[in-house]
Symmetry: none
Subunit: 209 residues, 4 copies
DNA sequence: CATGAATGAGACTTCATTCAT
DNA sequence: CATGAATGAAGTCTCATTCAT
């Protein structure tokens, strides 16, 4: 029951670490960095708070570890989803749908991601530890927009950063709603509406964008 | 009223309270509820932390007071902006532009608002205190969508909640980017792109949504 | 008795601070920096550990505050004691006797001082905070030796640093014994022997040094 | 013994224990008992902290083991050094010179010894474990003084404990300076000055003590 | 109306120690 | 003989809150 002192009968280090990362992601997503205490995570995992320090050096490093793992997973998925399409808005919709799937898989994935920007603003010390994967979000969206300009789909004088900003904002905005509602269906429904908006079928009498 | 004899050297009560609310909003917007300490706010105002308790009962009540005041101001503005237009997407764009203006006026306004959903999820005890203005956001967007259905602009079988979700998500998503960037210009640029998206002029060969 | 929350009936800030410094000096002298806990000091004073942070920024800063106050007091006394004599060994003996008096006054004074060198070696972060009074010990002894060379009492080619080292070592060595024994009498007795050693009356048949 | 078949790859038990004791002495000398962690020692030796418990029962027992071994070595040396001389101050000087040699051999030897008194005061639980060698210091110095009284070198009414205190204080005082400075030369220089002080050649016009 | 001394709960973190392997 | 996962106690420090003044 964990009340004994020495090494527990069956401790698989790698598995415990994964459990810590999962629990941490869920807590960080729900309560944020500050309000997530080591004890909360430890209780979820079934260990004591000090044991976390066998796996990471600090709470900030734990956050960074979750960040790196999650960002890598998510943007790798996004890149695959985008690869199946050519047109900008189609690619974007495909990415949004993939995000829905990830959310259904583990709601803490988008929940964690959409909060990253705020957390780093509030706790700038996190930035240094997150270095390995930082910029992945920005480069993904600017890549999407850059391709569209190269394709001739967007005019050459388009404000590319603004387009990337808007797409990123829509994605995190929708993900946030889904996360707040804790409801995958609602996520899908909002993406469906987005699709209609893009194809011109939302508003009566509209035409494809 | 000016009728009191020997007006106090500097501070009358009402003004101090306003200064506290302003400082609190800015801090809550930047650092979040948890990381904002009473001392931080008090230092901004030029008083001591204990003095805050003359105006509010607790830190949570301070948050709620800021919330009520800000939400009221913002959605009153939004209602006015929406009143000038008839079509759904035009009304929404007008609201977004009004949001830009508010951001230029005081960046902590949208900064505070976009964080509300997260804060309440993280600190559910806030909810009770925020009652007076809760639901204002939801009812504003569902009102917008309901009007469009009534107008015949949206089909009667439209998933109204999903449309409201999407519009709300876009607004908070964009506002968040602007807040993170600390840059009003970028806000306006993203809204311009949104406008182009709606009018079909973003993508080459596109038509109005 | 301290169980209430708010401000205690009669809290004299300056007096509380002095009580903290006294208690801290005694604990630092007896247990050292590391083993002295804030709780130990707080219990001595009759406050809670957190209250210490109203007066100093950290435990290290508390150590430094004790250091600066104590060093100043001690070396000011030593300078006075030395001023009454001309010959090196007489001056040194006078200083040693003054040290005995300080020890009788408050045994934690020499107890704290003799441990300073070790503590700073073990916790180098203390050094920065101790800056205002650092070097006072070294300059006092090198001053004593320098005067003796100037007087012609010591040969010009004397290794001055070695003489200063030896005198300093004797002083801290004797103080340490006295502190360990917790016995003022023993301190005085050892200094008496030192005096005899200097005047040649210790060893049968000896002559003045 | 080399007779065991297939000698273990690298470490035989006795050698590992010696390495632990050496590493522990160095760390205790430099950082003190409290600040020396088992991990620090283990890292020096190239083992894990838990392995230490195969050789000693606790950190305190490790300290005591270092103490007993070191004290025995040092005072055995001192007894030999004293045996070569007859007069008190000559014997004492010889002991001081032997201490210099030990310091040159391994600076942690005097470094550890001079801190013993403080550590035992700070952590009285150590005392019980140190029993086997406790009193060795005191008996050595009182032996030295007792001999001098027996010789007629010191008057019969001399305060013997005070003389022993003074000599012990000088020795630990000088050793501490050397340890703090990390400089063997400085140790020797201070002892040379002490010699001059004893022989009356330090101060111009002085005569032998 | 405001100060500021103080509390007490709780945060992160360290570390000696234990014990299954 | 040794590892390393884990515990639990303790330590420093922060902060919302209270209350005499």
């Amino acid at each position: 029951m964990g009340t004994t002192r020495g090494r527990p009968p069956s401790a698989d280090s790698a598995e415990t670490e994964q459990r810590i990362l999962r629990a941490a992601r869920a807590r960080f997503a729900r309560h944020g960095f500050r309000a997530t205490t080591n004890r909360l995570i430890a209780d979820d995992v079934g260990i004591t708070p000090g044991a976390i320090y066998h796996y990471v050096d600090s709470k900030a490093a734990l956050y960074a570890a979750v960040y790196c793992e999650t960002i890598d997973q998510v943007y790798t998925e996004f890149e695959r989803a985008a690869a199946d399409h050519a047109a900008l808005l189609e690619r974007f919709t495909a990415v949004m749908r993939r995000a829905c799937e990830l959310q259904a898989l583990d709601p803490s994935i988008p929940g964690f991601i959409v909060a990253v920007a705020q957390e780093t603003q509030r706790h700038p010390d996190l930035l240094a530890l997150m270095a390995p994967q930082r910029g992945r979000h920005a480069s993904f969206f600017s890549g999407l927009v850059g391709d569209a300009v190269a394709n001739g789909e967007l005019a050459p004088d388009t404000d590319q950063r603004a387009v990337a900003d808007l797409l990123g904002a829509i994605m995190t905005g929708v993900a946030r709603i889904a996360h707040a509602a804790g409801d995958s269906e609602r996520y899908v429904a909002a993406v469906d509406v987005l699709d209609q908006l893009f194809t011109g079928s939302l508003v009566v009498g509209g035409s494809p964008a």
